[in-house]
Amino acid sequence: MTSTPARVVAPPHRRRTAWFLGGLGVVLVVLTVVSGMLGQVPVTPTEVLGSLAHHVGLDVGPLPHHPQGENALWLVRFPRVVMAIVVGAALATAGALMQGVFGNPLADPGVIGVSSGAAVGAATVMVTAGALVPGSWVAAAAFVGGILTTALVYGLARSNGRTEVVTLVLTGIAVNAVAGGLLALLVLVADSAARDQIVFWQLGSLGGSTWNAVAVALPVAVVGVVGAFLLRRRLDLLTLGERAARHLGVDVERLRQVAIVLVALLVSAGVAFTGIIAFVGLVVPHLVRMVLGPSHRTLIPAAALGGAVVLLAADLVARTLVDNVDLPLGMITSLVGGPFFFWLLRRTRASQGGWA
């Protein structure tokens, strides 16, 4: 680099990013250990760490002294922890992608019909195959439902090789309405066992997470998050508007297609095994933007990490708040996320005069 003039802005920003990401990482580790400790079978923090160490081949630290300790950790709690991390990261990344692609801070993966389509898919299987249907069928149906609905919304909104954002959002509303109607119909025709199952699925839960589910969801989520990160620079340019982004060399239509496919993958992967979990995708990217600014280079990884932390914390609350009761996770995220989002809106409006 010859004759580099002083960078106009010094990089204290970068230090803040490092601190924020590091802090989230520490919180994630702490929450993982705490999640390992709490539950019907008590395990101490050192035992949790010792068990983890032994499983990666390090002969350090104590193993759980409780006879069921190892099983509680490795068959119940850890798959659930990993699933919370995977789904949280996937949902928050999907939210960041959606908001970037639509240039609208209120966009949510639900807009393009992923969640409602997944719900219809899952409910269809629950009704037609009976209450004893294997979880993997439900997951597969939810996944397919989510992807198909997204494809439908996108296909309907497209004309002359272009997709107008407003048309896409309105098409999403129409398709979401139809999906809601279908879901109501399915609830109506279902027997009471299937009905309970549908309702419960829609509330969202990480209970019953297995390593098999993790093995499916994790690779999909990794592909989604990495893919989103690769789009970071183009997403930044898109904030200037479609035309300006094109003038800077972005193939906007292509970018939008890739982003929507990634969102569908991320959300379907999460929702398929856990049911509907609201607000994580909407709130987490906002929080990150407030701290680190809107650049997608920091937003995407920080949102993924932040989503993991938020969902892990929410799940910890869901399963420990009331003894012996696994509260629906989607209920917790909505109850906390809704008012929190409102507070966020007020605060932003007061400090910056809104998002305009």
Binding site: M1, T2, S3, T4, P5, A6, R7, V8, V9, P11, R14, G103, N104, P105, R233, D236, L237, T239, L240, G241, R243, A244, R246, H247, L248, G249, V250, D251, R289, G293, P294, S295, Q352, G353, G354, W355, A356
Partner: protein, 298 residues
Amino acid sequence: MSGRWREALRPVRAGRPRTADDGLPPSSHPAGTLLAQVTGVRLERGGRLVLDDADLAVRAGEVHALLGPNGAGKSTLLGVLTGDLVPEAGTVTVDGREVGAWHPTGLARRRAVLLQQVTVSFPFTAEEIVRMGRAPWARTAAEDDDDDAVASAMAAVDVTHLAARTVPSLSGGERARVALARVLAQRTGVLLLDEPTAALDLGHQELVLQLAREHARAGGAVVVVVHDLGLAAAYADRVTVVSEGRVRACGPTREVLTASLLSDVWRFPVEVLEHPHGGAPLVVPVRAHTRATTPASR
């Protein structure tokens, strides 16, 4: 990414395939070189003919002003030239190639566009916005100039002091200048500016057109839409007057800007006066009430 890392990754980056088109076009050309051209373009929108047999030639060394009343089709003509609007008939070429045949990146290395309305949907800082102008040069040799291009573009339009401010916190005129800095940082041969002076105060209006002129003198080409005929008279080498979707006149500024043509196109009496101290002609609307009170000026 810090400079050190960038240096360390240089060999890796060099091996990566370049986007779209590997030619790095120069930003400077011999005066008179045809850099972009619109020929015989016809465009309908919503059943209305908005451009009819319109021509526009963009040549190096020239500031080319697009003039015309509201709704005449100036922005539409510019939109056709950028490739945003696809005409029903006629051809549009950039650097000798059909505009639709270019990859967006190839176009972005040849021409920069300032749109009339500039919105930013998230609170990026002014410097981040200007740096976006360097996107077309990512992973090319020109990437080395990024910091220099950003700093000098910001200095040129007087926004260096706003670098760390977020765009929503800026005034309309400041935002417009930040957007212009982004366009300048792109360092392309052709600049297409749609009303760059609309939100600016008098001093900055002059500054922007001086910059346009310097860009043309340095071997670039500028097409600029302005409403102030006086500014056009003072800075443009060539003007094209558009009216009702048709090119009414095109030629050297002094030849085109006549009282009769302007009065006819704008449907308002206009006088073109010689400047008392020499220099560019003055274009002045004829104001009846001032006439009545100062008959001496007749």
